[in-house]
Amino acid sequence: MIKFTDEQSMLLETAADFCRNHGPIEKVRASLDADDIDRGLWQEMSDLGWLGINVPEEYGGLGLDISSIVPVVESMGRYLLGSPYVSSVLVAECLASCGSDSQRSEWLPKIVAGTIGTFALTEEDGSWVLDDIEAVGTVSDQTLHLTGTKMFVTDADVADLIIASVKIDGAVRLVLIERNQIPPGNLSREVVIDQTRRSFRLNLDGIEISASQVLAGSDLKAIELNSMLMLCAEMSGGLTGVLQVIVEYLNTRKAFNRLIGSYQSLKHPSADIVLSLEAAKSHLYYAATLVSDGDDNAETAIRMAKAQASEAFAFAGDRAVQFHGGFGFTFECDAQLFLRRALWCQYQHGDENYHCRLLEPLLLDQAV
């Protein structure tokens, strides 16, 4: 029911080591709200071949499916690493399935080599329904004139290509915007709750691209589900990280002459958290297995995983702050880093209420 190949095991081991080495929390703290990504880290990821894991072999990748990325992203989540890795991998996945031959030939080898990609999908009202957009592309001759505004475009300033959703003749299409096609001033940094993220607002007004930059396909659902799988991986890793922070403090700090971990009011919620982590990790690898198998139930599995992990990680982050007492209220305490990460992950692509409502028809209204 859950498959995990030797290949994936090896990748997981490498990723865990790599992220542990790059993940001392001081390094993460130094990266908060940074002006640039960690170029050294990026180069190392690229050198390890991680950017090509899900790229077809003909374009220089390993030819594995997107679910093989899960252990890598989970490990990153464990140490709160920030990078354009997930967005680049997802852009590659999207190009591989929705791009034209020439788009694939042009971009996939570049991504394998370290070119950064990202998405511009969400708009001002923060809707999670990806085809609920207002940005427009108007064709005249062979040029596409874009208008509208996109939000939460991560690492947009360092991305070489941005896949954006716009309406062309009333239909939602994906377009590929290159870095040099964005006028200066159209990008502005956003202040987001997870300071390890570098997020931008992208004003599409005045951007002109060639009509050939429209992607052949526009499978928004695939983008949504793949993104969610990656978020679940981050959350599973993050839950592990935050629980370590909690356990360490509960085993160190004393109150009324007892280690605070001996109090059931802290011990029992910590037990709840470890069980929620076990659940999250299980849903994650189950969803990954179904994605890998191309199983029709993958959507259900991913939405379940997203709903469960969103709630669990946000709860753990909240309790982590509370259980650290006065120290938890300071920026210096690592609990807040995880809480912020949890809130980011929870509100990307829909929280538990959203997905549980979407799960209702999938789970309840079919023949048993």
Binding site: I2, T240, Q308
Partner: protein, 398 residues
């Protein structure tokens, strides 16, 4: 065996249970062996187990020479799965099949195996369990029930509680104190395969919060049992009890197989939601019911997936014992909340109790009340959380 043979075997078992599933007896059946409260329930269930054994679908992997099937464990696993799917009544001699039987096969003398195993499988001999005591709380080490050697007998005095099937049982696995000395409270305990039909052993039914019966308090008043009922040596009782408990937790194999309860699943509750009305409309259309059902489906999926994932070493979490140590907590609390929730779908009819007029004869109300037996018995949920905090996460003791 080949994959094909397994598939054929599964089909055969499924067919047998389809054809042989007992008819509705006309009274509400218990859902676990701890809930057998009337003679008619007991007899019905004993006969059913006997029939399943005769058909060859119980104790399939136990040695042939003692009455088992002598076949591969995988066949019993398949038979058990199909039994569960067929939703037929459970195998009532649970203590025998899952605790005493495996223990005797593992640690018993040859004569014990010959004497007990077949009758455990056929339900000829019902077994019960004598571990807990009224004032000992959750720590078995506090057991005070005495067994004093007198010639070739032991004399028993004291009492045991939560003896399910106590009035029907022919044997008891009994933990009793043979010494009050020794380096610690565990050292003086011994383990017996005790007969129940002995003067001075008196199982008194306890009325449960449901108003029904199913447990006894068993009193020992100078009851004399043969000395060869002792299992192992005097003073080894604690260790043998711990081995027994590993069978209870299902952590190791060795049980006879067969379902031991009518497990309540979320799908049962979804199915209930489709056919009952809450406030005049099908419950399944109520937005609050729908949301709750989805939450329960996710939770039960979590539990199933945890079991699967934890068998893949590469995917172990940093707290690898969490899944194993939490099985009882997760299952029992889910069951309590789920049966509680099922009630809420019935509208005003939730306030009925076991009777013909109640939905499904009142099994939902009774199920909720009975659910406490698992959130309390075998260490309360509160104690389970302590165990997870301390043994899994390494947090300090209270």
């Amino acid at each position: 065996m080949t994959e094909k043979e397994l598939v054929e075997f599964r089909a055969e078992v499924a067919a047998w249970f389809r054809d042989n599933a007992p008819d509705d007896p006309g009274f509400l059946l218990p859902e676990t062996f701890m809930e057998v409260g009337t003679d008619e329930q007991f007899e019905f269930l004993r006969d059913w187990q006997h029939k399943v054994y005769e058909a060859g679908y119980l104790g399939m992997a136990w040695p042939k020479e003692y009455g088992g099937g002598g076949r591969p464990q995988i066949l019993q696993d398949i038979a058990t799965q199909e039994m569960a799917k067929a939703r037929v009544p459970f195998m009532t001699n649970t203590i025998g099949l899952n605790w005493a039987g495996p223990l005797i096969l593992k640690m018993g003398r040859e004569e014990d195996k010959k004497r007990y195993i077949k009758n455990i499988l056929s339900a000829e001999d019902i077994w019960c369990q004598g571990f807990s005591e009224p004032d000992a709380g959750s720590d078995l080490g506090n057991s005070q029930c005495r067994a004093v050697r007198d010639g070739d007998e032991y004399v028993l005095n004291g009492s045991k509680i939560w003896t399910s099937l106590g009035t029907y049982a022919r044997h008891m696995i009994l933990l009793a104190r043979t010494s009050t000395e020794g380096s610690n409270k565990y050292a003086g305990l011994s383990y017996f395969l005790a007969p129940m039909n002995v003067p001075g052993i008196d199982p008194k039914p306890i009325q449960k919060l449901t108003g029904e019966y199913g447990f006894c308090q068993t009193y020992f008043d100078n009851a004399r049992i043969p000395a060869d009922c002792l299992m192992g040596q005097e003073g080894e009782g604690w260790n043998i009890a711990m081995v027994t408990l590993t069978f209870e937790r299902g952590a190791t194999g060795g049980q006879a197989g067969g379902i031991s309860s009518m497990e309540l699943t979320v799908n049962d509750v979804v199915e209930l939601a489709r056919r009952v009305k809450r406030n005049g409309k099908p419950a399944i259309e109520d937005p609050d019911v729908r949301r709750q059902l989805v939450n329960f489906l996710i939770e039960s999926k979590s539990n199933r997936l945890m079991g699967v994932r934890s068998t893949i070493p590469a995917l172990a979490s940093e707290w690898p014992t969490a899944v194993m140590m939490s099985g009882k907590l997760r299952a029992s609390e889910l069951n309590r909340r789920l049966s509680r929730f099922a009630l809420s779908m019935l509208g005003a009819n939730a306030a009925r109790f076991v009777s013909d007029e109640a939905t499904d004869g009142g099994k939902w109300q009774r199920g909720y009340f009975n659910a406490f037996s698992a959130t309390i018995g075998g260490g309360t949920s509160q104690i389970q959380k302590n165990i997870i905090g301390e043994r899994v996460l390494g947090l300090p003791k209270d």
